[in-house]
Symmetry: C2
Subunit: 327 residues, 2 copies
């Protein structure tokens, strides 16, 4: 089942079911008006949503209307929690090298996770407003999951069943702000403006064999200014999978329904072949090879498109497609 | 005007107006059912709320009922954003000394602010569930404000008008988790379980001369196991006031209505006379004086009460009053 939120002038949008082929949508106000409200009573509404999704697939939904990616908000246009990991170690090694930071001694046993801002996400086709070109704007293509209520102390094994929806993320970063901010020791704040998510999120079963309960094993394609920038496989080289990240998040507190957990930038060890999911990695690869980076950070007019295709080449989540504009 | 949220079995509680003397409350479902929904259209609902508050004060509110602090949730039982500063430098100096960390070089020009978890706050009289006594549980008594929508790039001068409500906070910290977590460089996550806020939040005018547009100039009283632990004045030694913190938060992104911004632990340079607002400070003071801390972190059975009184000795926000229990 595929779900999304239609922009309707409200802060949370309207929950819609999206057809598997991303051609039609239907609103379900009698079941739940927003995705957040559905997640709060997920076990009660999921069967009902699936029944309606069936009518959308078999063509008997009389009130379906065409899917328009430009009218989609992020599946949760705002959320009560967005926590993002850094679970691909090859990304972590490259970006830390880039800013002259050591790998934490516990990186193989203790996941990295930061608390992100969640009071308003960009829509997947929203412009990225850049206040200052010197901030060093970068995209970061990631996988993210949405949970229901997760009790404190949940184990990785139990965390699996709390993953209700899966989507893509552009975790926008301001690299030059970030370097200075991390030196202050309180983590990210100004360096992480609003993220965006794919137009559509999907239930785990939708991914079939490409979801093993903890990771999505398909290439994540980043296209920068109409040229493919990277297609690392999100299932490869993921050191801590989603159940591990959720268990880490829930160690000292419970997580409220509608919590979004991100993987961190998807990255494969074999980046020479598959490319990268952010500019910072590419810049570090260039620096190692040639002594200096050749790729610039994003500037007004630059465009990033993030998408994932199934084995038949069909888009699973729709595309994040954003262009940078000046403030 | 004083507002709060009554626990009613829902995740957001019911918005109530509270009388100035904290004796009576009235629900206002025809105006707004939750505080969050009121904040989203604040300029439209505030006059209406004030009209009802007048009827509560002059005794003509036929549907008022008794105020019961134990039935109050945190004013926002969950929020889309909770960002907490560390704006009292004497606190910052002491706790950094305690964990052997340097002051950041920019501490006098660049506010510290971390993104906190906001998916579920404890009620002001909720027990604090401690998973492991070795985590080093500490209370932190703070002032917090709630904003409406703040545009990106808002100046400190303009930020003042975005402060709609003021309250107290217990920013619960796990000190022994925190020390290790900060070494990883991504800020706080596991070390900051759910915070709690005072039963009542107030509009700035309610504070009269004790609110100068940026700070509350009254002692914040922390009572630990029925003995006064500290009463530093929240208006003294605050290096970055709330407008400065909000402007910092809004530098690279807008802030959604219902954003909570905290001051960090209230602390005065003269801590020998006024005491402290957290155990970590007291432990450091002891370590400096005697070589080793004598005060333990909180254990099951320990109780913390946080309150602020006006010049007549009347509680302004009601009390945060929490006891530690084992998981």
């Amino acid at each position: 089942m595929k779900l999304g939120s239609l922009m309707d002038g409200t802060r949370d949008g309207s929950l819609v079911i999206v057809s598997q082929d991303l051609s039609r949508v239907m609103a379900v106000p009698d079941i739940a008006s927003t995705l957040q409200s559905a997640l709060e009573i997920w076990s009660a509404v999921e069967p009902e949503l699936r029944r309606h999704a069936d009518t959308l697939e078999n063509g008997t939904a009389w009130d379906a209307f065409p899917y328009d990616e430009k009218k989609m908000a992020s599946p949760l246009p705002r959320a009560y929690q967005w926590a993002d990991g850094s679970a691909y170690l090859s990304h972590m090694k490259l970006v830390r090298k880039a800013r002259g930071a050591e790998m934490p001694s516990s990186f193989e046993t203790d996941p990295l996770l930061y608390q992100g801002g969640s009071d308003g996400f960009l829509a997947p086709h929203d412009a990225i407003i850049l206040g200052d070109p010197d901030w060093g704007l970068d995209f970061e293509a990631e996988i993210a999951v949405i949970t229901d209520d997760v009790p404190m102390g949940t184990s990785p094994a139990r965390a699996r069943s709390h993953i209700k929806l899966i989507m893509l993320c552009n975790d926008i970063s301001l690299r030059n702000v970030l370097r200075l901010e991390l030196q202050k020791g309180f983590g990210f704040y100004q360096s992480k403006p609003a993220s965006s998510f794919s137009p559509v999120c999907v239930t785990p079963d939708t991914l079939g064999e490409y979801w093993d309960g903890g990771r999505v094993s398909l290439p994540l394609i980043s296209t920068f200014n109409d040229r493919e920038f990277g297609h690392p496989n999100a299932g490869c080289d993921l050191y801590f999978d989603f159940p591990a990240l959720i268990a880490h998040a829930a160690k000292t507190r419970s997580l409220g329904a509608g919590t979004i957990i991100g993987s961190g930038t998807v990255s494969n060890e074999d980046h020479r072949t598959v490319g990268s999911s952010c500019l910072a990695e590419q810049r570090m690869i260039e620096t190692i090879a040639k002594g200096t980076p050749e790729t610039n950070f994003m500037m007004p007019g630059d465009r990033i498109r993030i998408e994932m295709l199934d084995a038949q080449g069909v888009s699973i989540f729709g595309a994040i497609d954003q262009t940078v504009v000046t403030a």
